[in-house]
């Protein structure tokens, strides 16, 4: 049963056709990635799911209900941490819940402590490093009550070392909570390392050129990144992208 299903969605801005006949679905408890080159309209897809934009054609359903134009039905973690600089870490984490109405302070404190940010709980965002801020942003999204979290290239602004650490941290926390995640990235390795399924997008106007079930068992660790089967999968995706580029 899919939790989120997008069927045949198209969107154009004037002359500029961004998405053409895009379909994908996410099941409950699944970690799904959308992988596409820069400028393939990934952010537009998120804005459509988030209700900031409405599609020209097609349906977007969450738990069988249409969420077209409905804001607040998903929980969101953006590319930049987007923490409010006048709020402490605790109050930033609570923001997602606050917008929806119910606040669970104890759970927030527990999650912050689990994320290794105990000593920063009453600090302000500017006192944290980039990776820490992204952790806070993720906890904020995780604590929001919506059934699915959208992550919009959350690690693309981090340096290589921090990114790997964050990916492992995300896998860890995902394993213990099993939230449903839709993850957008342009990094093939990242998509393979993290997700259960990958939708590979074409260039504009974007549509799904291939859907791939990631064959690796969990829990995964970083040795996987150098194994032959991992590199094999990476090659498959790479060529799929290249083929679509030529067409």
């Amino acid at each position: 049963m899919s939790l989120l299903s997008i069927e045949n969605v198209s969107k154009r801005f004037g002359e500029n056709e961004v998405i053409r006949g895009l379909s994908l679905d996410v099941k409950a408890g699944e970690f799904v990635s959308i992988l596409g080159p820069s400028g393939s309209g990934k952010s537009t897809i998120f804005n459509l799911i988030g209700g900031l934009l409405t599609p020209d054609e097609g349906t977007i359903r969450l738990q069988k209900e249409s969420i077209i134009g409905k804001r607040g039905s998903i929980s969101y973690m953006p590319q930049t941490p987007s923490l409010l600089p006048w709020r402490t870490i605790l109050h930033n984490v609570l923001l997602g819940q606050e917008l929806q109405g119910n606040i669970n302070r104890e759970k927030a404190i527990e999650m912050i402590e689990k994320a290794g940010l105990k000593e920063y709980i009453h600090s302000y965002p500017h006192e944290l490093s980039g990776g820490m801020k992204q952790r806070v942003a993720f906890i904020r999204a995780l604590l929001s009550p919506q059934p699915i979290i959208l992550l919009d290239e959350p690690f693309s602004a981090l340096d290589e070392w921090t990114r790997l650490g964050m990916q492992k941290w995300l896998l860890d926390i995902w394993d213990s909570h099993r939230p449903t995640i839709l993850f957008v990235t342009h990094n093939i390795e990242e998509a393979l390392f993290l997700s259960d399924r990958i939708f590979v997008l074409s260039h504009r106007p974007s549509h799904v050129i291939s859907e791939l079930k990631v064959p690796f068992s969990r829990p995964r660790n970083e040795e996987l990144l150098l194994e032959n089967r991992f590199l094999e999968s990476k090659r498959t995706i790479h060529f799929a992208l290249k083929r679509s580029n030529r067409e």
């Binding site: 900031l52 969101y76 953006p78 590319q79 600089p85 006048w86 917008l99 302000y124 959208l150």
Partner: protein
């Protein structure tokens, strides 16, 4: 803040030097006191005339505080309305700028004709000089809210009211305080001008009486207290800012 106060000795020294030059120039050139009194005379008058003066001072303080509170509330409210209803902003904003081009000196007698000699025309004068800096500063602050923060709030499902109270207003606080600082000093000036319109007491009244009877020393006493009052009000705003927008300062210190 303490650092800034310690640095204050430099302007204080310059001021002292200026007074000494003034004193000597007046004494050496033998300028009559009704033309330009020496600083020592002004100081003497300030101390000796205190019994008479403090009543005027009190009513000016009351008037400027009242005017400042009303004026800045009107300013902030105007900014909020203009911000939340774009159609109103497009049609009203240019008129607001025009409102600042009407000379108060011309407007003041008209206000007396319309509203009499009571509190009303005075508050209107102060509000007119006070609200504009706050409206402009707050509007800029609201508009400069970073897009990424707005985008996050919208995606997370914030409605218009939450977007304003949880994001735009707190983000604009530093800007609003810049406006408040300007308005605070304007409000004292506005109060003095409004007292010229006709009042029983106030520094404005005291000033008019003094200048028409060639008591130049008293005019300078009035000026001195207007300055002190403006400065105190300014410091008050600075103090409020210090406690309310702590995050901005900490961010700046880190950089």
């Amino acid at each position: 803040m303490i650092n800034n106060l310690l640095k204050g000795w430099r302007p204080a020294l310059v001021l002292l030097l200026l007074f000494i030059i003034w004193e000597m120039a007046v004494k050496l050139a033998d300028i009559p006191a009704w033309l330009l009194p020496p600083p020592t005379d002004i100081l003497k008058e300030a101390i000796e005339g205190w019994g008479n003066f403090h009543e005027h001072l009190q009513s000016t303080i009351k008037l400027s505080l009242l005017g400042f509170v009303i004026g800045s509330s009107v300013g902030l409210l105007t900014a909020i309305i203009l911000h939340l209803i774009p159609m109103v902003r497009e049609s009203i904003y240019p008129l607001l700028i025009l409102s600042q081009n009407v000379p108060i000196i011309v407007l003041a007698p008209l206000l007396v004709i319309w509203f009499g000699f009571g509190l009303m025309p005075k508050i209107i004068v102060i509000t007119l000089v006070c609200f504009f800096p706050i409206t402009v500063a707050a509007l800029d602050g609201f508009r400069q809210t970073p897009n990424e923060l707005k985008h996050y709030m919208m995606m997370a499902g914030a409605n218009r009211r939450q977007l304003f109270w949880k994001l735009e207003l707190p983000f604009s606080l530093p800007a609003i305080f810049s406006g408040l600082k300007i308005s605070a000093t304007y409000s004292v000036m506005g109060a003095v001008i409004s007292e010229w319109l006709g009042a029983k007491s106030g520094i404005g009244v005291y000033m008019t009486l003094a200048s028409s009877s060639f008591r130049t020393d008293r005019v300078f006493v009035a000026i001195l207290f207007i300055m002190i009052l403006s400065l105190l009000l300014f410091l008050l705003i600075l103090l409020a800012e210090h406690f309310l927008v702590r995050w901005k300062r900490m961010e700046a210190e880190r950089k």
